[in-house]
Amino acid sequence: MTTLTPVLTRNWDQPGSFTLEGYGEYAAARKALSQDPDAIIQMVKDSGLRGRGGAGFPTGMKWGFIPQNDGKAHYLVVNADESEPGTCKDIPLMMANPHALVEGVIITSYAIRANHAFIYVRGEVLHVIRRVQAAVREAYEKGYLGKDIFGSGYDLELVVHSGAGAYICGEETALLDSLEGHRGQPRLKPPFPAVAGLYACPTVINNVESVASVPSIVANGADWFASMGTEKSKGFGIFSLSGHVTRPGQYEAPLGITLRELLDMAGGIRAGHELKFWTPGGSSTPIFTAEHLDVPLDFESVGAKGSMLGTRALQIFDETTCVVRTVLRWTEFYAHESCGKCTPCREGTYWLKQVLKRLEKGQGSEEDLATITDIADNILGRSFCALGDGATSCIHSSVKLFRDEYLKHFEIGGCPFDPAASTVWGSK
């Protein structure tokens, strides 16, 4: 049986966990700054930490791509844009434990030889922004940021930057454009940000949880981190359970835990109902069903079953929920958030939305199912960035797993479900 491993969430129930006094004295950063930066990169490589922002790219390797002694400024940009539907871990993390992030920023910046770092937070979370601003200010006041940190001779400036409402700004190159004061649209890669990122300088972009995990690795060692998780998906991560669950919430566990185990801890599906479908990693990951309850939630195992671990955003729906309605709503989201730069995504998400609306009202035909599959085929792999690909996940997987439910809509000329039954109060 897998058990929970609270590390980043460990102090969340303490009053003042968000203050320096409640957090600690940045012992890991002190330790890191007394070592060679390359040793830190090696330690993070050895730990097996992989990006917690969705793609799972090895963090130490990403840092290692930054050219050294190139005479250019280097930058660290923390991706705190958290907007992928279902994803809700970075926001409570920054609210309750912002110093873990700030300490991680110091260590990461030191390792990649950056003297300027940014935390790009989505704008729609005012109190979280206050907490991060306050943590940064406290760190400055203590001399943990600014000039000659811990007497090491190392200087670091850290800026908290609020976004302004655009999911696409979570895509790392769109985020850079946004941070440079432009519309947030993805850039052509290569060049990759490690070579030409912010202001065309070498830049590391990491997710909040990735960076916040770094102090624990420095404090406890690479082996400690690697002792958790599976062979290729090491360490712990926050699993976010939402939807028709008895006790939704944040469960920090080793990678490889299963939904069955997590549901046991969360009191199961809400009383009197059963699991119908779920996302393993946010709305951009193909949906799973009860058949997948025992799939280890690590990068490899979820991938082998045709989905993605993504951000461990487990959105859980019971048998009262209409798949077609849910897919329509996700699709409306992608159509709304498509940045418009490339045709397959801009036009494709628009048409997906139109056809799905018809289907949901029971005014579609079997041909429409072929149409949405075709449109999705034309977006997948042909879009400029991963937003387009992500928009196709729920289309392909739902048509495959719930074809009959789509058919039922036009057989009876409407939706066979009562939306009131799915609501929180509808079950009472």
Partner: protein
Amino acid sequence: MNEEESATMSTGYPPEVRERLETDAKEIIGRYPKARSALLPLLHLVQSEDGYVSDAGYEFCAEMLGLSKAEVVGVATFYTMYKRKPAGDYNVGVCINALCAVMGGDQIWDELSEHVGVGHDETTSDGKVTLERLECNAACDFAPVMMVNWEFFDNQTPESAKQLVDDLRAGKEVVPTRGPGKLCTFKEAARVLAGLPDGLAGEGPSAAGPSLEGLKVAKAHGWEAPGGAVSDR
């Protein structure tokens, strides 16, 4: 000052407002290696003055950063948080992304919108409340979620939503579920987003409700990370 300069000056903010904004703007710009990076914060700043991004606001940002007004408008219109027309003191959002919608967000939106008599991005005639349909606000474990001036109002029902808006319009005190002890106005919120703190970070809980469920289970079972050795102290 030549004629052209004085002409642009006179179209913008009154001198004392401009002076105040300029002081703030310079501080913000100074944080960035390149000035243009301050554009999003400056748009938040002018929104904190006017409650939306006014013509004077666009011009101010353009002047401060040496950009054309068209460039500034082009950027601002990309982002949903910048309002293009005067908005209410309270921006009331209902999450209608799939999960919240299913959990009751759709019903909340329908009932609330009917109750208040305005639709998406519309403001009540008393100028108090603007309603907005929101995408996922990263609080799905608290569904159905509402936001007022970007503070969390978790676990809502149609009744609580209507009460909330009635209270806001009646000037009664309204407190976020995870946030400070008092709700600030839309303009005050925008100032924090510009990077100018309001001193309220210490208020409210560290975490609440669902955020703590996993930790509770772990504690009840005595589960820890290996060695329990994670403390930073």
